[in-house]
Symmetry: none
Subunit: 266 residues, 2 copies
C-alpha cells in the first residue's frame, strides 16, 4: 500500500471514530507502527488531524461541546442585542395557543427566551430550539424527523413523506443569510433544503434579519420577496433596503435597541 493510500485510510478512520489508535491503524493498513507514526506526524503538520498519545483524533470542529452548550458555532455572540429584540418582536406577533413554525438559525433561536413564558404549538426543525423549549417552557413541541446534522443543528429527512407536510401553521418564522432584490439567500444547501420543506406550510411567512443582512449576498436563493409577508429587522436598515421591501409589499417591523441592552448581551 502506498503512502497516499495509507493517508486516505487513516483520515477516513479518524473521521469515523473519535480516536484511532496506532495499533488499530496498523491492522487497517498492514504497515508497521513506525510508518503509521510517520504518517500521523505528517498529517499532523498538514493539519489534517491531531496527533495524540496512542494514535490520532479528528481535528474538525465536530468536537464534543458542539451542541446546545453553545448552540451554533460561529457568529453566535454577534449582534445578540439586535437579534434578541427582533426575536422578541416576532414572538409578540403570536397569540396564545397558536400553531407556529420556527426554522432553525441563530436569529430564530433567540425566540426561545420570550417563548419561555408562552404556551404555543411549535413545530421546528432545529434540535437546539426543541431542546431548549422542552426544558424551559410548557409549549407543545413538534419536531421534524430525520438525520440530525450537527453542524447546521437541524433535523432533516431526505424523504418527501415526513411529518412536515402534516403541520400547518398560522405563521412561519425564518432567518436568512442575506436579503436582496432576488429574495432570501442562504449559504448552506442543507439549510435551503430544510427551509423549502417548511415554506408553504404556513399562512404568513415572517423573516427575521438584522440590518446587516441587507448587505450580504449568498450563492443560493431560497425564495423571492413576493413570498415574504412580514420582515422584522433593527433600526440599522438603510433607505434603499426599506424601499425595496416596500416595493415588494412587505410589512416591515423595525425594532429598537438601547445601549444598555447591547451591553447586557455581550
Amino acid at each position: 500500500m502506498h503512502e497516499k493510500e495509507r493517508h486516505r485510510v487513516i483520515l477516513s478512520a479518524v473521521q469515523d471514530r473519535p480516536v484511532a489508535t496506532v495499533t488499530e491503524l496498523c491492522a487497517l493498513t498492514g504497515a508497521s507502527e513506525a510508518t503509521i507514526r510517520r504518517d500521523i506526524a505528517a498529517l499532523h503538520v498538514q493539519k489534517k488531524l491531531r496527533r495524540i498519545r496512542g494514535g490520532a483524533e479528528a481535528l474538525n470542529p465536530n468536537q464534543l461541546p458542539g451542541l446546545a452548550g453553545r448552540p451554533f458555532s460561529v457568529n453566535e455572540t454577534l449582534r445578540i442585542a439586535q437579534k434578541r429584540a427582533i426575536a422578541g418582536a416576532a414572538v409578540a406577533l403570536c397569540d396564545e395557543g397558536e400553531p407556529i413554525i420556527i426554522n432553525g438559525g441563530t436569529t430564530t433561536f433567540q425566540m426561545v427566551h420570550p417563548l419561555a413564558s408562552r404556551r404555543l404549538q411549535i413545530f421546528t426543525n432545529s434540535f437546539p430550539i426543541a431542546e431548549h423549549l422542552l426544558k424551559n417552557s410548557k409549549n407543545t413541541i413538534m419536531l421534524s424527523g430525520g438525520t440530525v446534522y450537527r453542524e447546521q443543528n437541524i433535523v432533516l429527512s431526505p424523504f418527501e413523506n415526513d411529518v412536515t407536510k402534516n403541520f400547518y401553521a398560522r405563521r412561519m418564522f425564518i432567518g436568512a443569510q442575506g436579503v436582496g432584490p432576488l429574495g432570501l439567500m442562504e449559504a448552506d444547501p442543507l439549510l435551503i433544503q430544510a427551509e423549502q420543506k417548511l415554506i408553504g406550510q404556513a399562512d404568513e411567512l415572517v423573516v427575521l434579519v438584522d440590518s446587516s443582512k441587507f448587505e450580504n449576498r449568498s450563492a443560493l436563493v431560497l425564495c423571492g420577496l413576493d413570498r415574504v409577508d412580514t420582515l422584522i429587522t433593527d433600526e440599522g436598515i438603510g433607505d434603499r433596503a426599506a424601499a425595496m421591501l416596500e416595493a415588494a409589499d412587505i410589512r416591515v417591523i423595525v425594532t429598537h435597541v438601547n445601549a444598555s441592552e447591547i451591553e447586557a448581551a455581550s
Copy 2:
C-alpha cells in the same frame, strides 16, 4: 480503552446523572480506580466537569427537573446496575457502522454510555437518547418526527407517513414493562403506538428487560414472543421464565452484576 475514549465515556456518564462515582466509572470503562481518578483530575482542570469526593459531577448547574437532568420520572435509580449491564451486553452485539434502532425507555437509555465510544447509525424515537448521543458521541443520529411527549420522553407522529418507514436496521432494541406468555407488555398506550411503528423495521428484535419484569403484567400487549429474537436480562431470571423463553425459541443472554457495581449504582 484509550485516554480520550475514557474521557468521552466519563463525560457521557456525568451528563446523564449529575453525579457519577469512581467505582461506577470503573465498571463502565474497565479501567482501574487510579486511572479514573487521574482522568477525573485531568477533566477537572480542563473544566469539563467538577471533581467531588467519590467521583465527579456535571459542571453546568443542571436544568429544570423534568427532562435530561433526570431523564425519566420514576424508577430511574432502581436496578440501575442491572440495566447498565444489560445495556452493555446489548451494545456489545453491534458492529461498528451498523444501523440500529433504539426505542425509548429507561433500560435502553443506559445504552448511551457504552455507545459513547462507538460509531453507529442510530435511529431512535427518544429525545433524551438523541440529545445525549449528539452531545457525547460521534454516532450518526436519526430521530423520528412528531410531537415530543414530555412524560414518556418520546417523539411520536400521529401519521402513517413518517421517516420511520424509511429506516431499516440490523437490530432493534426495545424495553418492556412486562414479559409473559402473551408476549411483551407495556402500560402506556402511547409507548405501544411508538413501538409498533418501529417494530418490523429491523431484522432482529432484541428485548432488554431486567429479571423483575418477568413478574410484571400490564394491560397492553405489544407483540407476541414469536416476534422476539433475542432477550437480554440479568441473572435473577427464574426457571419458569427461562423455560418460557426457551419454548419460544428466543436466544437469551444473561448478564452478571457484582456487588460493588450494585453498590455504585445506588
